[in-house]
Amino acid sequence: METPTLEDKVDGLTALVGELVAQQRRQQEFWTDLGPIAREVMTVATERLDGLEQRGLFALGREGLAVLDAVTAAVEPQDVRALAESAVAILDAVRAVTQPEVMALVAEAGEVMQHGDELAGASPWDVLSAGRDPDLRRGVAVVVEVLKQVGRVSQGLHPPDTTDGRARRERLLDRRTAPRSRRPRPPAEEIAPGGVSRPAEPTLQLEGWELDAGGFLADADLWTEDFAHQMAAQVGVPALTEEHWRVIRFARADWDASRTSPNIRRITLGSGVSTKALYALWPCSPGKTTARVAGLPKPVGCL
């Protein structure tokens, strides 16, 4: 390639200068053109801002800043922490409200209300008989309890019941389902058998004879006159008179005939011994004592 001459270099520079000049002129023209447009734009913008100013936007903004300042000054850090805690409680409440049971309740209630026009009107009788419905009664109880709580809070007389919700619910349900308190029943062991406490009768013992728990001859057919003498002595009759024997013989005969111990009325009618005399014969309990001495089981019945 041939080396460029000085003339060539000057030509090149000249061309470059010319190009730069042309560029400068174009820029000058652009700014010259832009000037009026820019002024126009500035005018419009100023007008717009002026309009906003007139409508109080900036005043509002300034006030807003003032409010923000005041809030920042008034709110302490612990307030913010409290707000955070409240947020948790609020979220809990929201979660509680959206529990499936509550949602189901709301859905059911909505369903009922939607079809409310299909229900027949309730007569006074219907209202009365509905009062027996256990679900309704429980529902009314819950509503009443809620209203009471609302009343307490709104009056500010009593602080709201802040006990644990579960405990409160149990207490509420307990009040409705627990049986009415009655006089507490004494433990079984405090009640004496037979209901009346009295000293146990000393059990009769008769040597050579087998007696039952009540002191009567265990086997009535083993009775002998000797037994009668021994037993009479035991019950406080040292000597048996002829009248005693009338009674004893009648009781033995009646036993042989009916296999039952005769009661007093039967003895008096059958033996001819009067009631008065019978009571005089034995120290007490003429019916039982006759059976004892006559070797018979304890008489049953009320006469």
Partner: protein
Amino acid sequence: MSRKVAIIVSKGGLDEVYPAFILANGARQSGIEASLFFTFYGLDAIMETKVDRLHVNMAGNASSPIPTVVAGLPGMERVAATMMQRQMQELELPGAREFLEILHDSGARIYGCQLAMEMFKVDRDSLIPQVEDVITVGDFFEICDGAQVLFT
């Protein structure tokens, strides 16, 4: 101390005096002292003219097999008493007069109420001989000191 029972009989129906008789008799048979105190309509049971004709009132009795409207008809108390006496005879229960004799013989004490007798214009001679005395409520409480008191 020996046991005692005092029974106040304030009504004179057959079904109302027999429980008292049976209680007193049972007490005597068990060696328990027994007193019977007849007052108000209970006096009928110790009056000579009425002791054999004690009635049974079925009207207003929830346990009665006879409807109340029927039980209120005239004479029904006599019919009911007859029916009841028949049942008692089957069980060899003594009649009211005989029962009182048995009670008296067994040592039970029979008292009339003085105030009730004045009210009903009943004199001492119209009572059955088994009546031990005519007493006041104060006397009664003295007699039943330490006793179990039953009111029928």
